[in-house]
Amino acid sequence: MYRLALFACSALVLLAQRQPLFRDEVQPILAAKCVACHSETQKMAQLDLSSFAGLMAGGANGAVLVPGKPEMSLLWKMVESGKMPMGAKPLSDAEKKILRDYIEQGRFPKLDVSAQEAAREAKIITPEARQWWSFVPPVKSTPPGDGHWIDAFVKAKLAARGWSLQAEAPRATLLRRLSFALTGLAPGPQEVESFATDQDPEAYTKRVDALMASRHFGEHWGRHWLDLAGYSDTTGDAGDSEREAMYKYRDWVVGAMNRNMPYDAFVRLQLAGDQFVNYKPGTKPNEQEREALLATGYIRSTTDITDNQSIYQVDKYFDAIFRVTDTTMKNLMGLSIGCARCHDHKFDPILQKDYYRLMASFQAVYDPEAWLAGNLAYGPWPSRMVLDMESDVAAKWKEEVSNKDAVALRRARLLLEATYQRYRTALQLGKNIDDPAARETIRKEIEADPDLQLDQDDDGSVFPNSELEARFPELVTIKNEINDKYRKKKTTIKPEYLRAAWDVSKTPSPTYLLMRGDYLSPGPEVKPGVLAVLDSPTSPTIFPDSKAHPEWNHTGRRMALSKWLTRADHPLTARVWVNRVWQYLFGEGLVRSVDDFGREGTKPTHPELLDTLAVSFVEHGWDTKWLIREILLSQTWRQDSAADPEKMKADPENHLLWRKPPLRLEAETIRDTMLQVSGLLQMEAGGPPVGVSKLPDGQFAEDPKKGNVNRRSLYLSYQRTRPVGFLKAFDCPEMTADNQAQRFRSTLPVQALALLNNPLVMRTSNAFAQRVLEEAKGNTEAAVERAFRLAYSRKPEQREIALAQQTIATAKDPAAGLRLFLQAMLAANEFLYAY
């Protein structure tokens, strides 16, 4: 059972006469007509009509609303009779109808919780349920043998079958494997050479340490985390608009990985950085605050389809808060709690109430009753952005961008841009728009469109704006008008902002348990808290009351949640992370279902190893680099990847870890290594992403007009609906499903097509050929040898030299032949895998 599906069925019933929504329809009426007297501060007759809670609480005369019964509701009686609003214009008929419909058809919280509820919960949260393997804190075991402690656990299992670890991989293979795993780049020929001949017994350890100290470590491991966060440079709304400044979070993650920030702190800052530094919204963050706020970009990376439509947003608000809750719990605890949105979890001991307890922590960030706009075109500024400017400058800038002129300017520019686009579309479709009246019709339509959107994929090259301007003079006129009218009023301040999460207020709207996940069916109010099954039955975790902390600028909820998640004895957090780290290195986790440590998931193949890793990791201060280093120093990791036929037959999935399996490289690593070996790769770190544009064949690719196209893939713009074609072919996720914990490693013909025909491959193989020819001073044979050392970290075999010669000879021009051979090298399996 899932998500809003259930919302859908309940709403279907009401289709023909949809009941009014409190926030979008009822609240504005109350705000306009009643709140002047009945507000939180001006509480006449002790009645506060400024919020849903206030409405339901009633006033001095008791309840003002009887669900389903307008005639018995004081609110309706006063309004209908015209007694209220006192001394003001009565409600219009339409407004009255909305109120009446709402009382009659709206859904209201069931405010009493029956005793049966508690009994039902006790049946789910049983002592046995608490004993599920992953709910019990991990315990360290003594390694059952000699040698590296990780190997001892693995070897014991292998020995039970009469097997052992395979021999260590050859040095070049090992270094290549290591380099890809730690940095996502291939080792250089000299490094391969020096490692191959290094007699130092610490030679391998030294390479591990050196690669972990490289700043490329953070770029590669940061990307793993960004997959979990569901990082994207676009929002995921209808037009998939750009998410400005999001890249600062990406850079924060890379930096945190490179600085080896302890994992517990890494998690706490991302969930609640703003609260830990007690950031005061609206102020210029100091250096420490900026750092903490950047981390909370994690919470802002969720898909958010709230767009510029004026109403009917409430379901989308809930979608965002549901997603951030689900994704975070999945990422950190390896539990899919989504089912509990609609009902108690069918398989795991997770109560529906648990879901909303956890969700309540995010309520103050994504408050459906006080929504912060996701983009500039909609809602009040500054929305999701923290302005990183002195307060007076920030205030001035806000004034400048949010005043009527600025809004009008944005609208005027949008209309003009849309006019170009629609003219262009008309011409492309062969429509005759030479008649000014036809064009006026188009412009009128655009003006009348309440949810006007630009076509993000508009191909401006076919009928460029300049050509349109030459043909249709009104475009120039409009453009000049805009320039003249707004020239003086243009803002002069360059904004500095970052995307962060903070609590909208210390008293966010209440979190209700939503019956069947339907926000129109709120049940009892739920207080923030944690999963019952992981909580102490005798002294449950109680979140701090922010009212008791007048010095706080926040609710303290996410802080409390993150502290609970990173408790040393939390049974899941460390286990889930060490398992992910294992998966990044071996392709599969010790628990194969990396996102599901519940009953529907798989059990660990090596439970003692997993637990010992988890406990030791926490004992070492949640030190991720320590953890990675321990694994990399094991023989389990260093062993050969070749498949032994007997073991392959008996254990094809490598559950017993009898080899280190060969793994196809991730999309980014393939692209980066192509650029690297061809000498094109630019190592510039961080900053705004390199933009993408549509190629003539329809796919998107990095655009030289929008940045340096030779940067690492991490720095390309990740767009949910405009994925870079080459990366998409190799399973780079589009984050349409919020996040992706584990990359697919598919084998598809589109990959072969990309390696044959994609412009990237042509560009890199050209440069590669030039590079090796130059380095070999024009000697083709030497150039081929150089290419093998660069791309495959080894010398070519005799057979391969002959193949190269033969391939090159087929071309009229040896340089072209060499390029062809090098393209084949980049397209071959040796290049695409870490062995």
Partner: protein, 461 residues
């Protein structure tokens, strides 16, 4: 010089006995699979009209509207705007009755009148989403949010493909819709089940299908051969890892795909009469017409699910909030020839017997005007609209359901949602829509999920 075919034979011959197939993660592939029960339809062409087509001006005349034309509606009409206009606007177009079934078609669709007998209308569609993005997500994924697999992905997952040289699921964007690539995204289903974008462009119908400029056929042949030679090393060193073999086989597959995709997108073999039938040369109707023709050629080649997407035509979008009188004729003109030609052409080729054609929009438009002014339009109407199906297993010439006298809301007893259509389409393909599931986040997910859904048997033969 070798022909392309000879070259492929040479290349393919070297790959040994391994059956060429597409391997996705976890061993998912596109091999044709048996349906759950005997299927009426083998393949689907899904015509996706994004933006909200005004079906009351196209297929569903409501004579009562004339009575109220310019006057307030007799009951409250809700659009998106809180205080939306209540002023009824009769359809500005005349309707005639056509075919043996004598069903009404407006003057906007003169060609469609020829095929009205071939289709079954569902005239009582309703959805719970009122804005484009959420309604379009519902339209093709069953959920009002991004992040769920599209119907074509579910079908490809269940049935695979009958042609391993082409994708199982193709999306043709005659024009791009509001939700972009998410209209054919596999979401969390393995990527092999995602919609592959194709365009009716003979030179570049699929990404990366065309040889790069300056690379001759001979050079590419050499390239393939060299890659094959280089790959021998892994075959020797990893003889027991099928993945390496599969990857080698994929080059063969890619080469065949290159050939076949270019062939399928090449309309040279189509007669002038056929091109005219689809309106291929018409300035306004050409793009959609060519997309429909490509769709026919694809299903003919064994592609399982083709989704033709359009959101505008004649220089206007289907989202006719204003100037519906000016815009709708061009919009209808843009699809009339394509969809009509498709049905005629499929039938005369004997393909309509086992090909299902589905036409729908995410929602319809209200019988009222959206705003006063010289060029009124109609607002979104999720409460009642029409869609049609034709071909395999569909009872031609029947209607199911109705809306109220104004064409505003579906009559409750007949209400059909997008999930019902999803169930029906799968049913016709021999798929038990409740058994076509995939494990996701600890659950067995399906296209309809927990939505109430039923097969609309009333329109099935």
């Amino acid at each position: 010089m070798m022909t392309r075919r000879e070259m492929l034979a040479t290349v393919a011959g070297g790959y040994g006995a391994l059956a060429a197939e597409t391997l996705s993660a976890n061993g998912y592939n596109l091999r044709a699979k048996q349906p759950h029960f005997p299927a009426k339809a083998k393949r689907v062409i899904f015509l996706y009209v994004g933006g909200g087509a005004s079906t009351i001006d196209m297929y569903d005349p409501k004579p009562v509207l004339t009575k109220y034309d310019g006057k307030p509606a007799p009951f409250q009409i809700k659009g998106r705007a809180l205080n939306g206009s209540q002023q009824v606007m009769a359809s500005p177009w005349s309707f005639g009755r056509y075919g043996e079934s004598g069903r009404p078609v407006s003057s906007l669709l003169p060609k469609f009148t020829q095929v009205v007998d071939k289709v079954a209308f569902v005239r009582s569609m309703a959805t719970d989403r009122i804005d484009h993005s959420t309604a379009q997500f519902t339209f093709v994924t069953g959920r009002g949010f991004s992040g769920f697999p599209a119907i074509g992905s579910w079908v490809a997952y269940a049935l695979g493909s009958e042609n391993q040289n082409l994708p199982a699921y193709v999306a043709i964007e005659s024009t791009r819709c509001t939700i972009g690539t998410r209209a054919y995204s596999p979401a969390w289903l393995p990527p092999v089940f995602g919609g592959t974008v194709m365009e009716p462009k003979p030179e570049a119908p699929v990404y990366d299908i065309q040889r790069p400029e300056g690379i001759s056929e001979a050079q590419q042949r050499q390239l393939l051969d060299t890659v094959k030679q280089l790959n021998q090393k892994q075959l020797r060193e990893y003889p027991h890892d099928p993945e390496f073999e599969a990857r080698i086989a994929n080059y063969e597959l890619a080469a065949r795909m290159q050939l076949e995709a270019l062939q399928v997108a090449d309309f040279k073999q189509e007669s002038p009469e056929t091109l005219a039938l689809y309106g291929c040369h018409d300035k306004v109707a050409g793009q959609f017409g060519k997309s429909c023709l490509l769709a026919r050629r694809l299903v003919e080649s064994g592609v399982r699910f083709v989704q033709v997407i359009t959101s505008s035509g004649g220089g206007n979008g289907w989202d006719t909030h204003s100037n519906i009188k000016g815009a709708l004729p061009g919009l209808c003109h843009s699809i009339d020839a394509g969809m009509t030609g498709l049905l005629i052409d499929l039938e005369r080729r004997g393909l309509l017997d086992d090909t299902l054609v589905v036409w729908s929009s995410e929602f319809g438009r209200l019988p009222t005007i959206e705003s006063n002014g010289p060029r009124p339009g109609r607002d979104h109407n999720p409460y009642g609209f029409s869609m049609w199906m034709a071909g395999a297993g569909v009872k031609a010439g029947v209607d199911y359901g109705d809306t109220d006298e104004l064409g505003y809301a579906a009559l409750p007893e007949f209400k059909v949602g997008h999930s019902d259509i999803h169930a029906t389409v799968q049913h016709l393909l021999g798929i038990d829509y409740q058994r076509n599931t995939y494990p996701f986040e600890g659950r067995q997910e399906s296209l309809v999920g927990v939505n109430p859904a039923r097969v609309v048997k009333e329109v099935l033969s």
